[in-house]
Symmetry: C2
Subunit: 103 residues, 2 copies
């Protein structure tokens, strides 16, 4: 663990989708581009098999709140609940420490 | 948000694998079975495309530490570094709040 580690935040978004997800991947791409432009954005990890997992990383809880309420993102969230997701769960987490392996 | 929400912990494990991952899926299955038997284990989410994401959920930091040092798990970790992973990162997180959508 680095001595100078500064805690940051992670939003874990797990979801299952409906069979018809027309328009989803375009929107997901747009939202990723938009998230990257937000203040306090640190990065994102994403993978989907049966369950989809998207984790976004942020400098502060305030940055997460601002992103949650961003206008275009609100539209995407609404569309997600209406058309694409059968279930999702959001977890707001504080990253307290981390370590890495590189071969 | 539920009033009685009790914080818990998440271990975010992101990784990239080598081309040859012989023996990996058997070991992953074994480790999942074993994790479920650990004290303080709460659940797991997993998906892999380019990057693999496995998140395990735990009652406490102590439960995470005990699992990290579990004998068979230590063997799996060693094997992972030697044979399967080209890179991985582990983040220890405190889940501070969560919410869910169900259609």
């Amino acid at each position: 663990m680095k001595e100078d580690f500064k805690p940051y935040y992670a939003v874990i978004f797990t979801s299952t989708q409906n069979e018809n997800v027309e328009g989803y991947s375009d929107m997901a791409e747009k939202m990723e581009t938009l998230a990257k432009q937000q203040k306090g954005y640190l990065g994102m990890d994403s993978a989907r098999n049966t369950v989809g997992i998207t984790i976004s990383y942020w400098e502060s809880l305030e940055a997460i709140k601002t992103w949650k309420q961003q206008t275009d993102h609100l539209v995407a969230q609404q569309k997600g609940r209406q058309d694409w997701y059968s279930w999702y769960k959001v977890k707001i987490c504080k990253v307290e420490r981390e370590y890495e392996f590189n071969k």
